[in-house]
């Protein structure tokens, strides 16, 4: 299951819990890697301010998550991350990095990634089952992760916006699996539910800090 990183016990990790995600599953995996992650509901705490990494797990609806983040003052916090802080969004926590989503009305995101989250049936050439559930291999990393989602971002959109990304190929369609822009990171898959590949993901991500 991998060695505990040298800096594991020193890295301050905050997991956002606004009743929209499986925060305990993420915390559990990080604990097994030797990290001490704190679950936070509100952004106005010292732990949030002093954190090195902020993680937003996601099992939920785009609109519900944005409203819950607003209610608990996370939108302003995430818009103004300090230079040393990293943000990692998982699933819908990743989708809120985009400008907006087709999931629900008036679904505005953080606009870190200037592109739109669309229903999978609007991804170019997508003909598979919806929701898209299962294990898919990323084209660049060659790792297999667990995905479960009905909305996503079309890789053809992203290529024009100068963002680092990886993607999965389903038939002829390409769906973004992870993005990075500055200190904002996001993954469409669930590393906390991807077994050994998930452990490797978190180790690599947190070792870079």
């Amino acid at each position: 299951m991998g060695l505990v990183s040298r800096g594991a016990t020193l890295t301050k990790i905050a997991i956002i819990d606004v009743n929209t995600g499986n925060s305990a599953a993420v915390q559990n995996m990080l604990n097994h890697l030797g990290y001490n992650a704190t679950i936070l509901c509100d952004a106005g705490s010292r732990e949030a301010e002093q954190s090195d990494v902020v993680i937003l797990p996601g099992v939920g609806n785009f609109n519900s998550v944005m409203q819950a983040l607003e209610k608990h003052n996370w939108i302003n916090f995430l818009d103004n991350l300090s230079g040393a802080q990293k943000f990692l969004g998982i699933c819908v926590g990743y989708q809120i990095l985009f400008s907006d989503s087709a999931e629900g009305a008036n679904s505005k995101g953080l606009n870190i990634i200037p592109a739109k989250v669309v229903g999978l049936n609007d991804v170019r050439s997508f003909t598979s089952n919806i929701p898209n559930v299962g294990w898919f291999e990323e084209e660049k990393s060659k790792e297999k992760y667990y995905f479960t989602h009905s909305y996503g971002a079309d890789a053809e959109q992203i290529e024009v916006s100068g963002v680092d990304f990886d993607y999965i190929q389903i038939g002829k369609s390409k769906i973004i699996s992870r993005v990075n822009k500055g200190n904002y990171y996001g993954v469409q898959f669930h590393p906390e539910k991807s077994g050994l590949a998930g452990f490797r993901f978190f180790e690599d991500f947190l070792n870079d800090i």
């Binding site: 305990a24 559990n28 099992v59 939920g60 919806i130 559930v133 299962g134 667990y146 669930h190 991807s194």
Partner: protein, 246 residues
């Protein structure tokens, strides 16, 4: 996409049990140990159903949470989920998909609420059938004392399926027997249902070849119980895992 091979586990109080045709259950293991073994085998996901429970208690959720903490894989849970608070509590301790019986769906707005809060993919429909014909399926009923089954026609089943992220069809006659599957049943389900959301099959799987055949019918995955729990040649419990890689 990987064809998902999903250990199917039945829980009764603090124990995993296994029977045949959902009857005559016997103890097969402690949830903490069994889930850890499946986790260490890096299986695709696990499914846990409690057909014995009436209402979820805090103690049962705590027990499940402890077992889930050994498992870093997708977990679906069914049984005793009656309120949104049940779903939220289970989600917090590590389950992200919730299984609902088709006979309990009518007039049940919980699945709609779950869909709004967690997304459609959090809802799984379970369709346990006793037999079938060109008109529909005879569904096993556990709600009525007097009727062993209820007949649902294909159009009704299809209408319900669209509200769920995944659907599991279980052949009750084959459950726990490791005797292979009914090819005509799979042909019927495949032609009537497959096309929209992921469809999974359960009942009678005994080997890799069965899994490969089920995949070829267009199913997204299969739930496997006895063949994973009794993976040794004799009938003693020996937890193991195989997938459709033949």
């Amino acid at each position: 996409m990987t064809f998902r091979c999903i250990p199917s586990l039945i829980i009764n109080g603090p124990n995993f049990v296994k029977g045949q045709q959902f009857k005559n259950h016997i103890y097969v293991g402690d949830p903490n140990n069994v889930l850890k073994i499946f986790n260490d085998n890096d299986v695709h996901e696990v499914s846990i159903v409690d057909p014995f429970i009436r209402d979820l208690t805090k103690q049962q959720i705590a027990l499940l949470g402890k077992a889930f903490s050994n498992c870093f894989l997708p977990i679906s849970y069914g049984g005793g989920v009656k309120k949104l608070s049940d779903v939220r509590e289970l989600n917090k301790v590590g389950a992200e998909k919730f299984i609902f019986e088709i006979e309990n769906i009518k007039d049940n707005d919980l699945t709609q609420t779950v869909s709004t809060e967690l997304g459609k993919q959090a809802n799984i429909l379970h369709v346990p059938f006793l037999n079938y014909n060109s008109g529909g399926l005879n569904i096993r009923s556990s709600r009525s004392l007097f009727r062993r089954s209820i007949f649902l026609d294909w159009s009704y089943i299809k209408d319900i399926c669209v509200n769920f992220g995944e659907v599991i069809f279980t052949d009750v006659r084959k459950e726990g027997l490791r005797s292979g599957f009914d090819q005509n049943a799979l042909t019927m389900i495949s032609s009537e249902i497959i096309g929209q959301q992921p469809i999974l099959y359960q009942g009678g799987v005994s080997c890799k070849t069965d899994l490969k055949k089920i995949r070829n019918y267009g199913f997204s995955g299969a739930l496997v119980g006895a063949a994973y729990l009794y993976s040794s040649k004799n009938k003693s419990v020996n937890v193991g895992f195989f997938d459709d890689d033949v």
